[in-house]
């Protein structure tokens, strides 16, 4: 009979319980100079992000340039590209932009034109960002009880 142990060494016979813990951590960074810290905070505020979100986006962008990284999804890469281009994209206010494969593929009059062009320019793409600059903004909506259990 196979004897299995959990991380604490407890024996469970042939069955090992699987426990997944999700922990939100507070990260303390020692040795970060004041100038970098202020700059990071200022950039986060300018982009309307919390510090944790800004660090996460910066990390995603960093990983998107790492050719050996296999864990990034197409979605991660496209979002990192969008975040990196966000300021530059403001000049296309009112237009729809298309990002796939981590690159800006074009600007369009409407989302449908972008979707049609995606079929030509990147038919293999499984994920793409199609957004109307200046029109699509994060919304906070309500979801009352009812069907809430996910």
């Amino acid at each position: 009979m196979t004897v299995k142990r959990d991380v604490a060494g407890k024996v469970y016979g042939s069955r090992v319980p699987l426990v997944t813990k999700v922990i939100l951590v507070t990260l303390v960074i020692r040795g970060l100079d004041e100038k970098t810290k202020r700059s990071l905070r200022a950039e986060a505020i300018r982009r309307g992000l919390r510090l944790a979100q800004a660090v996460k986006e910066a990390f995603q962008l960093w990983r998107s340039y790492d050719q050996d990284a296999q864990t990034l999804s197409e979605r991660d890469v496209n979002n990192a590209a969008y975040d990196a281009l966000r300021q530059e994209l403001e000049k296309y206010a009112g237009k729809t932009i298309l990002i796939a494969g981590g690159r800006l593929l074009g600007t369009y009059e409407n989302p449908r034109s972008a979707a049609m062009d995606l079929r030509l320019k990147a038919p293999e793409a499984r994920h793409a960002i199609v957004t109307a600059i200046g029109k699509d903004k994060r919304e906070e909506l309500e979801w009352l009880g009812g069907s809430l259990n996910l």
Partner: protein
């Protein structure tokens, strides 16, 4: 108070006898049909247009909004971040329109019709008959 009369145009039975539904046809922005006249439950507590299961949402990933622009829903148990994408919706007796569909960023999700989608239509939720009907105002 003005009295108004409505005439029902088409009706659909409630799911499980008590959940109002409408048949929905959904396509991707480039016209590929994903869902064809599938009855979907109506949840007036959901303020968005449509919530989709993760499995259904995968078909719309080629027209997703950036994560920083995707929606967040306020619920009794705290904020629920979403992934949001564009889709084409066709309801019976109505023209095809572009909508935003959501799926929870974490979890499997489920498919339902929300309040925003009901904004442009006249609907009767008939409890006695256990059916949902499109109606039209009939002026005397």
């Amino acid at each position: 108070m003005a009295r108004r009369l409505f005439e029902s145009l088409e009706c659909w039975p409630n799911l499980d006898g008590n959940r109002p539904t409408l048949p929905v046809t959904l396509s991707t922005l480039d016209g590929q049909r994903v869902v064809h006249e599938q009855p979907m439950p109506i949840d007036t507590g959901f303020a968005g247009a449509m919530l989709l299961s993760r499995e259904a949402f995968i078909h719309f990933e080629r027209a997703e909004l950036p994560e920083s622009e995707s929606r967040i829903y306020r619920t009794l148990i705290g904020p629920v971040p979403m992934r949001t994408a564009r889709a084409l919706l066709k309801l019976p007796l109505a023209d095809e329109t572009e909508i935003l569909v959501d799926t929870p960023k974490y979890g499997a999700g489920k498919s339902l019709i929300g309040l925003r989608l009901l904004g442009g239509i006249e609907l009767l939720l008939s409890g006695q008959r256990a059916e949902t009907c499109f109606v039209i105002s009939s002026h005397p």
